[in-house]
């Protein structure tokens, strides 16, 4: 089977800093990474390929530095990677992004070979909308489900998946081609292997770039122009008024006593605390 797996190149969240003057994000010098929630999707795609044969193609619509991320996925074992990049794609909201991705999937289907499955991560760490898989399914009119933790094929060539919702475990069967999005942290991704890296070094053509002169998408349908939503303005989040009383206790007992005293002399807090202390039996554990 031929599987396309989506990847987004996102700012590394560990190093995000806020400009204290403007309250905006400092992006300069912040190293980017593969969206961590895409890695379980890559892993599942690789497992399906390893089991049933075929190939995995990573697809990312990102600026050129995302090549690093695609190389990482090739290192994990992805067979080839496509970077969809063009200045006209910049500023896209999720509708315009999914439009470009859906068309790239169509192009892969037409020019490389039939695509059976597209796999995405649950959401990204930088915008966490979870829109892209459903929107891509809408453009392609493919069946789709979210929050998948495991997938396999039935004897008659259908895709079976298991997913977990807030209060239910479900099994679904999908005709292919289909789209699935993989629950975050559900599958442990494999590390990059040296062998795959060497393979890539000797055959760099497994990573290709498609610009819009190749994709030939109407410029009114992509990037900022192809985005129905935009950020009209940003405002500071108003500061929450707090008492800001800070206590330096003598020892742990003093600290505990001070906390309870403070809470019990605070009108709102004492009501909730006393209710809890009276309500619960307290018999356990003591």
């Amino acid at each position: 089977m031929r599987i396309v797996v989506g990847m987004k190149w996102v700012p590394g969240t560990q190093s995000v800093r806020i400009d204290p003057k403007t309250g905006t994000l400092i992006r300069e010098g912040v190293p980017s990474i593969v969206n961590p929630h895409d890695l379980p999707a890559v892993e599942l795609a690789l497992r399906l390929r390893d089991k049933y044969g075929g190939e995995v193609i990573a697809l990312s619509m990102s600026p050129p530095p995302a090549i690093k991320g695609l190389e990482y996925l090739i290192g994990m074992g992805v067979d080839r990677a496509i970077l969809l990049t063009d200045r006209v794609y910049a500023g896209a909201d999720t509708l315009a992004t999914s439009y470009a991705l859906a068309n790239a999937i169509r192009k892969i289907d037409a020019e490389i070979g039939k695509v059976d499955l597209a796999v995405f991560g649950q959401e990204t760490t930088d915008s966490s909308t979870a829109h892209i898989p459903a929107q891509t399914a809408s453009w392609l009119n493919w069946p789709y489900v979210y929050y998948v933790r495991d997938a396999w094929l039935t004897e008659d060539g259908k895709l079976r998946v298991e997913r977990i919702l807030e209060n239910a475990i479900e099994e679904w069967e999908l005709d292919m081609p289909a789209i699935i999005s993989i629950a975050m942290k559900s599958i442990k991704p494999r590390p990059v292997s040296l062998l795959n890296k060497i393979r890539f070094k000797t055959n760099p053509s497994t990573l290709i770039t498609w610009t819009n002169s190749y994709m030939n998408l109407d410029v009114r349908c992509v990037g900022l122009k192809g985005s129905p939503t935009f950020v009209a303005k940003t405002v500071d989040v108003p500061e929450v008024p707090r008492k800001k009383i800070v206590y330096k206790p003598k020892d742990g007992e003093d600290a505990a006593r001070w906390i309870l005293k403070s809470l019990l002399s605070d009108e709102k807090a004492s009501r909730a605390l006393l209710k809890a202390l009276r309500g619960s039996s307290g018999g356990e554990g003591s």
Partner: protein, 363 residues
């Protein structure tokens, strides 16, 4: 009155088709139905829907799609829907994202609402972007507030952007309907008014085009939630990286058990695997509304504090006197939590004993 004459699509993507904004009126809430009836999360969406509908001077229509769902229309009205569109059809017995999505799309094309609210439950997050995209319109996920530009009737969909201590006002200036989701428990359930039942119109609709589903639910096992959701707890104890280990969380659990609290944590604690993602507090986790929030070994990053804005009283335990949380809490203690928490547990047990015996609490 109209900014654009009908049929003039302007310089837009040909795949979008024309939309005349002025034809779109009214606010919708799409109901989510499962074996327990109408989900609370979808009823909560009536709260922002009411705010937006009042500002637009329009009404709220609830939408129910399913099999044997007509009986839920009254409940929808009791919580605030003015009318309810009901599609009661055996083909909608099982929820299938593409099939339900296309049904909503067909109804939207007929009734042309200007704004659609969909609860950001797991299913809602799956369904909503499909609907928006099929309508070639915009959608904003995880909104925390809404406002209206009365002149253009554009709804500002407000959410915090990536990592910043800001609120972004997202706008869909040229397309209709506008769509938005909000996470469960971000908005309160509106007060239930039984006298509203049956007051509005129940519009029974048929969906003409029901696609043959290309995906099927094979099995569904309901696993009832055992833990109380953190967003609804009266007292929350949060742990951060400063706890140093998963063991530290055991200590917090012990305290929580004594004071009837639910334990949550910072994103770093989640990333370290000390606590599940469902209990992450903050911008990319849950927003809590507890009366008391006790932050333990948490530095007080803006993204974390975003989730505790509505907590009424914040207590912080941190051994670093310069930790930002101390200037964002009501009561801060500069101490090692390993000294404080065991003493808190001990004292709380003493107080409980006294309360049980009817003795005064003496600290």
């Amino acid at each position: 009155m109209s900014q654009k004459p009908q049929g003039d699509c302007g310089d837009i993507c040909p795949e979008w088709g024309c939309r005349n904004k002025d034809e779109y009126r009214g606010v919708w809430v799409v109901g989510e139905v499962d074996e327990n009836g109408l989900s609370e999360a979808s009823l909560q969406m009536l709260t922002p829907a009411r705010k937006v509908a009042s500002k637009l001077g329009t009404k709220i229509t609830g939408v129910l799609i399913g099999h044997n769902v007509k009986g839920l229309a009254d409940q929808f009205m009791e919580y605030g829907a003015d009318d309810v569109i009901v599609v009661d059809d055996e083909r909608f017995k099982e929820y299938v994202p593409n099939v339900f999505g296309e049904a909503v799309v067909e109804l939207v094309k007929k009734y042309k609402p200007e704004m659609i609210f969909i609860a950001g439950t797991m299913r809602g997050r799956e369904l909503a972007p499909f609907i928006a995209n099929h309508l070639r319109s915009g959608i904003t996920a995880d909104c925390t507030d809404f406002d209206v530009d009365e002149k253009t009737r554009d709804v500002f969909q407000i959410r915090p952007p990536f990592g910043a201590v800001l609120l972004a006002y997202i706008r869909t200036p040229n397309r209709r309907p506008q769509l938005a989701t909000a996470r469960p428990n971000v908005f309160p359930l509106p007060p239930r008014d039984p006298s509203r039942a049956g007051k509005g119109e129940i519009i029974e609709e048929k969906v003409e085009h029901v696609p043959v589903p290309k995906s099927r639910l094979v099995s569904r096992k309901v696993v009832p939630r055992t833990e109380a959701p953190i967003e609804k707890a009266e007292i929350v104890v949060g742990g951060g990286k400063g706890l140093g280990s998963a063991e530290g969380f055991k200590m917090l659990e012990e305290l929580a058990k004594e004071i009837g609290a639910v334990v949550g944590g910072s994103r770093k604690a989640v990333d370290l695997g000390w606590i599940p993602h469902e209990r992450q507090i903050g911008q990319t986790g849950k927003s809590i509304k507890s009366v008391i929030y006790m932050a333990v070994g948490i530095s007080g990053a803006a993204q974390h504090m975003f989730g505790v804005r509505e907590a009424e009283v914040v207590v912080a335990i941190n051994n670093d006197p310069s930790a930002p949380i101390l200037s964002q809490a009501d009561y801060g203690v500069v101490a090692d939590y390993r000294e404080v928490i065991p003493n808190l547990i001990k004292l709380v047990r003493e107080i409980k004993d006294r309360l049980a015996k009817g003795e005064p609490i003496d600290l």
